[in-house]
């Protein structure tokens, strides 16, 4: 088993903002169950900021922890700020990840970006 930081274990055991959001303004899903990970990030947007955010994740310890962390990092940020959150930001906030697990932090940030793009697409269409 990979060795995880305390921060990773904390987010894995008590994930923040976990669950489906039925009335989300934007939804981003990334990953591939065949590879052992699928993440969905849901956002609620108010005045250009992420007012509420939640996630669902199928995956390993790092996948759950990075999902939880990305929701914490993005909450309250403007959409532009949230778009700039990177995989490194997620991994660093968790005190680092084992090298083999770095792709998980990539997925979490990607799911957030996809949710923002989904929201923007919907609002552009409206």
């Amino acid at each position: 088993m990979a060795t995880y930081t305390e921060k990773v274990m904390e987010h894995f055991k008590n994930p923040k903002n976990m669950g489906e959001m039925k009335d989300a303004d934007g939804k981003g899903e990334v990953g591939n169950p065949s590879c052992g990970d699928l993440m969905t990030v849901y956002i609620k947007v108010k005045d250009g900021r992420i007012a509420d955010i939640s996630f669902q994740t199928f995956g390993c310890v790092a996948a759950v922890a990075t999902s939880s962390m990305v929701t914490e990092l993005a909450r309250g940020k403007t959409l532009d700020e949230a778009m700039k959150l990177t995989r490194e930001d997620v991994a660093e906030s968790l005190g680092g990840l084992p090298p083999i697990k770095l792709h998980c932090s990539n997925l979490a940030a990607d799911a957030l970006h996809e949710a923002i793009k989904d929201y923007r697409k919907k609002t552009d269409e409206a």
Partner: protein
Amino acid sequence: MTSMNVYLDNSATTRVDPAVVEAMLPFFTERFGNPSSIHSKGVEAREAVEVAREQVAKLINAKPSEIIFTSGGTESDNLAIAGAARAAHSADSSKNAVVCSNVEHPAVLNTCKDLAASGFSFSEAKVSPNGVLEVAEAQSNISSKTAVASIMLANNEIGSIQPVAEVAKLCHEQGVLMHTDAVQATGKIPIDVRKLDVDLLSLASHKFHGPKGVGALYLREGVKIKPIFGGGGQERGLRSGTENVPGIIGLGAAAQIARENLSVDIAHMERLRDKLIDNLVVLPRAFLNGSHDQRLPNNANFRFLGLEGEALITLLDGDGICASTGSACSSKKLRASHVLTALGLADWEAHGSLRLTLSRFTTQDEVDYAIEKIPAAVSTLRRMSPVWAKLERGEKIEDVKDGHVH
């Protein structure tokens, strides 16, 4: 129930029997001689090694002269397959192929692949969805060109027991040497090399309450193999290097205890295994991986759809339960286990697997505790899983092979 330490990973390794440790101790400090030495210290070590050889031979109904001590299962597999393939090829250059099953341990699989890289042809016989090899499938892979075929006696992940005696018969009809990796089977089912009619058999001490770093290769009298490394010519020139005397003594003691307790141990493990199976396959979308009937008495391997194995193992570890998974994320490869996908499972299904393996020392309390904790851990992960949500909505999960998008 209060927290417990529960060890259900006995296919990874087992606790050394205290009687085994007791038997080994004098060979570190007082009886430390080199078995090759002529003086009395050497002679006493040699005598002890020969007693251990008899103990190991008895466990599998071999002659002591047919036992070669090695560093463990991996070395035994390498020596057996590479050694037999090279010897057979030197004696008859038309012998240029090796065969194994598609659920072998990497020690076998990679030895075959190495031989393939050095000019042998290599084919894998595919198991059926229950994890058991059909004899006809083995037959279609074996020909008179085959130097050696290697079919494990029992699988390390799903515990499926293979028809080794039947495949050995086929092999011998075509002049093919037959090896079996019995690392997981030793001490779990009766093993008789005469009945199996194999030419080579690997076993590892630490899988049946002996120490790590020691194992044995059974080499049928008259069968020729080439050593895989050179040196002082110990073990009849087939395995150079000063004997690991304390380890060998421990292996011998473990073999004797295993033989004396085998029928009691089997009944004990089987009862606990069935209790695990009966209580855990009733969870929603939970399945037993591999055959129930042709299965080691100490192995239960489940798949719980909608979750990922490493996360499950980590949650259980937090509850004090040591278990293992065939999941990609824990094995440092972003791939589902080759054994589970060989059963025809989609990768996403295989990722949710949990292996629980028992031993002589596993208690009823440990099993009851696991039965209490596992369903809760499964539910925790499913509650956060979008895959589980899709399954609950009746959606299909697509299996995108090689669809690595990241």
